[in-house]
Amino acid sequence: MGEILSRVHANNLVRWAADKPNAVVFSADLTGSTEVDLFRDAYPGRFFSFGVAEQNMLSFAGGMAREGFLPLVHTFGVFIYRRAYDQVAMSVAYPNLPVRMFGFLPGVTTPGGATHQAIEDVALMRSLPNMTVLDCGDATDVETVLDAIETIPGPVYVRMLRGEVPRLFAAAEPLRVGRSRLVHAPASGPADLAVFSSGICTEEAIRAVRAMADRGLAIHHRHVSTLKPFDDPAILAAAVEARCGVITMENHVVVGGLGSAVAETLAEAGVGKKLVRIGLADTFAHGASKAYLMKEYGLDAAALIRRAEGLLGRTLNIGEADLAAVRIEPVHSMAKAEAL
């Protein structure tokens, strides 16, 4: 494992907001839980506590955005898109206002169970006109997303990570909206498989892809942080090249998220590749540790190997020990030759 960082968003937000007096932070009684306590202490005049009242918070954000402020709304993802979807749609998205929504606890990253797990947020937010949707997968994504979205004139929904976050991508290579990251490319020639992963699934995918590459498979793996707009030409190009098919892997239901976006892209381009969508298979999850849930619901490295074996029609003989042995260092995508 590479570097593990702590409270990345908490620190980054304070740094980022220092020279942006129009940036205001909103919290609905989850100030510590969404890492905006440092912002509150640093800029108390720009911090607003709403109590447990998300509907008011989202429409309030629309109001302040109309006056030239940049509201950064922080709460758990479920309480943005489930609780206040109408307010998000009509007070923020319809007038295309620059409100930034940070949805914490994406998918199975919380033991809180169905009430706290945002498992269909990408599907809902992606279908909302004017909305940009991002999913952070590591510390570099988290600490560069604010800059990356700064010039977007309309609303942005970001799936955010908190607490201890690994650095999978070089700190000097910021998240770029609309551009996936190359994680692994075949040493030569076309790929057997194209793997597109997002969020916390990327760390698992890195593990599985290294192990499969050690078995001689040619794999093109990309980390996708922008789920809308979904127009990165590198994704379609990688899928076209993949001889045996495409696998998507996301911490979200398989309906409406990354897998659906890839399917739409392939179909619209007339690319008839087999597509395997790894994600929550149309089910609510229960409460347990992240590692346990990823295993139980088939979102981990072992699941990617199983699904790849199915696509390839053969066994790769990769065990848990092989996966555990994979050491993950930060990836320098610019240092690699693009396989395309």
Binding site: S49, R82, G113
Partner: protein, 277 residues
Amino acid sequence: MARDERIAELEEKARRIRAHVVRIAGMSDCHTGGSLSIADMLAGLYFHTLRVDPGLPGWEGRDYFILSKGHCVPALDAALAMRGFFPEDALTTHLQLDSIISGHACARVTPGIDVSTGSLGHGLSIGVGLALGVRMDGAANRVFVMIGDGELQEGSNWEAAMAGAHHKLEGLVAIVDRNMYQTGPTEEMMALEPLADKWRAFGWATRVIDGHDMAQIVETLDALPFEKGRPSAIVSRTEKGHGVSMSIHQHMNRFDEAQTATMLAELGQGGGEGGRN
């Protein structure tokens, strides 16, 4: 049984509920503060007021209890186990695989829980619908909904409050656990006062009580419904974390072994087998 003995017995039930909450916090993260503040009211409800059958959790004549502040389920689990809905041993499996108790109230796994909660601001609306359905069925089940004070910041509660009074749901009871804290002080975060006046203005027959005074709790529950043709609201003034010094005003605790023992001793519930009902 003399009334004083009855009160003393209920107070002991409340202490045992608190001891179970402390033990749960000794095993895993636990929303202690809001669980401890409702312990007395839960003792009054489950051992004095609610018509339930632990052997038949789905008995159709039962009173419904909805814990809208679903994160405080450790206290409810303790009350249900002590009332006989499931063995008290199950309380040692909080957040473990295949446990029948859960981090948020879960009707899918826990006998005696009718409504899964944990997303705030749902319970009262569900309670209004249930109470109206009960009346349309010509049945007599009562519906009790316990709501956190911070939770009342969710606007949905006030839509439900309007509807409950509009439909004159005499069998509906809202109990507000007025412990003054959410993750921080409620009146600083988004003030609710004058809270009892709000309920009265919404058409609810409202009483304000000391939620740690068992005699008042029993007297109040015995007086339900407070007025003919109106739903009843009890603003139960409590202290977040009451009875456990390390949990006062705390939203969550995780106790180590020594802390657990000290907190159990505070409750007069020390010892490995102590607190078994």
